[in-house]
């Protein structure tokens, strides 16, 4: 075991002397946290809507009031002619348009039935679908008031649990921990081991009385420490700046994070046994860990809405499992009994990857 110490010491000197690595580890997470924390705002508020009120009756004004008073929409333009609508969409002045027909009030009075038209900009499908849902709700509420039924046979009262305000930050911050841990561990460890191969220093280490595990563990441990520091920083900012709730046990989260860390490191080590140059290692790490962790893990896009093929891939990705764990602990207060399957998967995957890496690690140059 003592053979590891000099390698650890040396690795810390490398990191300390290379400000870029330090910046990647400490500053980038913070930067990304603020970028993601604010930019991935999936909450829809103050959507610009254009309204064409052809009816101009108290009834139609009441409907408009429902939209503008909801907080979801903000009336920016009063549309006069139908022909204007397309221009408004094209110039991005509005994201949605509400068209109230001339006979709106009349139809209600005479037939008890009426119709309005809603146009939605679907070029941003995420926002589009949220706007669609919101208008449906608003219109349903309006219809209910207009109709003279006092009581509907079935009443829908929905309550959202665990993130009642539907704050995306609460969702994004834990996700970011998953992505960044994967990035620091897999990317940096694969690069640091490959660097020794590329510069020829590995040749010296292999001739010295060091065992492969001493070289690997010694090189990787400093990154575990740094990744833990980075994760702590992200979570602290998440807790105190973005007010992410910490419902579950912090100790459980820390323990399970270590398991996830090992999975990420195992990925990095495996890559370093394949790649010959730092550049290849970097590309491989980005392709194999970063991209899937960001795109397919459910960090931003829900896994359930992916095509089946991608869902299959998502289920293999470690970040997907860790996302269930960290969101489960932080937002739902899950305990280990619920998270057990994810933990088992991560542990098994780490073991498999480590076994393959140790087998692949060459104690010789050929």
């Amino acid at each position: 075991m003592l053979g590891i110490l000099p390698v650890i010491r040396k690795e810390f000197i490398h990191i300390w002397r290379d400000p870029r690595t330090l910046a990647i580890i400490i500053l980038m997470p913070i930067l990304q946290l603020f970028i993601f924390g604010y930019a991935i705002d999936m909450d829809v508020r103050d959507i610009k809507i254009g309204i064409m009120d052809q009816s101009r009756t108290p009834a139609s004004r009441e409907l408009i009031q429902k939209f503008t008073g909801s907080g979801y929409f903000e009336e920016t333009v009063a549309i006069q002619k139908r022909a204007e609508i397309e221009d408004l969409f094209r110039s991005r002045k509005i994201k949605a348009a509400l068209i109230i027909p001339v006979d709106y009030a009349k139809s209600i009075k005479r037939e008890g039935v009426t119709s309005v038209q809603v146009l939605i900009d679907g070029s941003d499908s995420n926002t589009g679908s949220i706007v669609l849902n919101t208008t449906r709700q608003l219109l349903a509420g309006a219809s209910f008031e207009i109709s003279n039924i006092n009581r509907l046979p079935m009443q829908i009262t929905s309550t959202i649990w665990y993130n009642p305000e539907q704050e995306s930050n609460h969702f994004v911050v834990p996700g970011l921990v998953a992505v960044l841990l994967m990035m620091i561990c897999a990317l940096l460890t694969s690069i640091t081991i490959t660097r020794e191969k590329e510069t020829g220093t590995m040749e010296q280490l292999l001739v010295a009385p060091l065992k492969p595990y001493q070289i690997i563990v010694g090189k990787v441990l400093p990154y575990v420490v740094l990744a833990s520091v980075a994760a702590t920083i992200i979570l602290l900012i998440g807790r105190f700046w973005f007010k992410v709730p910490f419902t579950g046990s912090v100790l459980l989260l820390a323990t399970l994070s270590i398991i996830y860390l090992v999975t990420a490191l195992a990925f990095g080590i495996l890559i370093s046994t394949i790649a010959r140059t730092q550049q290849t290692a970097m590309m491989m790490a980005l392709m194999a860990t970063m991209l899937p962790s960001v795109i397919l893990s459910g960090f931003v896009f829900p896994v359930a809405s992916m095509p089946l093929f991608l869902q299959g891939i998502a289920k293999i990705i470690p970040a997907t499992h860790f996302l269930f764990i960290i969101r489960g602990i932080l937002l739902k207060g899950n305990d280990i009994s619920v998270l057990f399957p994810y933990v088992i998967y991560l542990a098994a995957l780490s073991l498999l990857l480590l076994v393959i890496s140790v087998k692949r690690f060459k104690v010789r140059l050929d």
Binding site: L2, G3, L5, P6, V7, R9, K10, I13, H14, R17, D18, T199, G200, T201, E203, Q204, L205, L206, V207, A208, P209, L210, R364, L365, D366
Partner: protein, 311 residues
């Protein structure tokens, strides 16, 4: 058996190839304890491959290899502490200082603290790196880098030192200094196997082998090797060496005509007749010269001769 005669390195019929390109072809080598052994040959001769096999870094395709009495492939762990290997490429950490690099090597060879401090001090004096001990390795000159690399390999006082072209790319003054250090080590009883592309360095070794295309062409003490030269050698010293070589080359009376900077070496069967013929040819071609005289063959001459025979 006397300890002095025990072979520290024993290689029999070694074959090693990479992807159908053979780097070492049926090679035999024996280095006795306490020897300074030079392995001379151009780039691509297979020197590095041979050294890597000896250090257990490459697996031979076939053949017997013994280092300090052990098989470097299957019993590497038993000899790691006794070998010091300095790869051809500078393999230290450029972002670590001279002292930090030495400390790292002392630590991975598990040298106790007191011993480490004493030895570092001694090696710093020996290599004259003391004034640069806090300088980053990347900021050292070529010669200093090599001295640092050697110092790092010496931290654990190896019995066998394997050096791969330690003086390539090093200025002449530092080269002399480096060889003086190797001499001292040899006097302390360290067995040294060193490769070099410089023929003049071979003559500094007790024994040498000329290596070319994966084979050893000649082996022995430097004198034994030069004795094998079959021709007489005449040296022409001239400022117009190039024109001189041009004038002499077409003549079939010469075994070979080689150009070395400001001189031309001409191999002949018989000295007196050769000198006359050379003078006549140079005169006819209006080439002026400082001297045309018999000379002793150097390793370079025998090497060129053997390579020609080989081809």
């Amino acid at each position: 058996m006397n300890a002095m005669d025990t072979p520290v390195i024993l290689v029999e019929d070694l074959v090693k190839s990479y992807d159908q390109v053979s780097a070492v072809k049926s090679l035999d080598l024996e280095v006795v304890s306490g020897a300074m052994y030079g392995l001379i040959g151009p780039d691509g001769a297979g020197k590095t491959t041979l050294l890597r096999v000896l250090c257990g870094l490459l697996t031979p395709d076939s053949g017997e290899v013994q280092v300090l009495g052990f098989n470097p492939i299957t019993e590497l762990a038993r000899i790691k502490d006794a070998i010091g290997y300095m790869p051809q490429r500078f393999s230290l950490y450029p972002d670590l200082s001279v002292a930090e690099n030495m400390r790292f090597f002392a630590d991975i060879y598990r040298i106790p603290k007191q011993e480490r401090i004493e030895r570092t001090e001694r090696l710093m004096q020996f290599s004259r790196l003391e004034p640069f001990k806090d300088r980053m390795a990347h900021a050292l000159s070529g010669g200093m880098k090599q001295k640092l690399a050697l110092s790092c390999t010496l931290m654990h006082t190896p019995k066998l030192l394997i050096l791969d072209e330690p003086t390539t790319g090093v200025d002449p003054v530092s080269r002399v200094e480096f060889w003086n250090i190797l001499r001292e080590l040899k006097d302390q009883g360290v067995t040294i196997l060193v490769t070099t592309p410089y023929m003049d360095e071979a003559s500094l070794c007790d024994r040498a082998a000329l290596m070319y295309d994966g084979k050893i062409l000649a082996e022995g003490t430097p004198d034994q090797i030069t004795e094998r030269y079959p021709n007489k050698l005449i040296r022409v010293i001239t400022e117009e060496a190039h024109s001189a070589a041009e004038a002499l080359k077409p003549n079939e009376a010469f075994e070979s005509v080689e150009l070395y900077g400001d001189r031309v070496h001409v191999a002949v069967r018989e000295t007196a007749r050769g000198i006359d013929l050379i003078k006549e040819l140079l005169g006819r071609n209006n080439v002026t010269y400082d001297s045309v005289a018999k000379c002793e063959p150097h390793l370079e001459d025998i090497f060129v001769h053997l390579v020609k025979q080989e081809e």
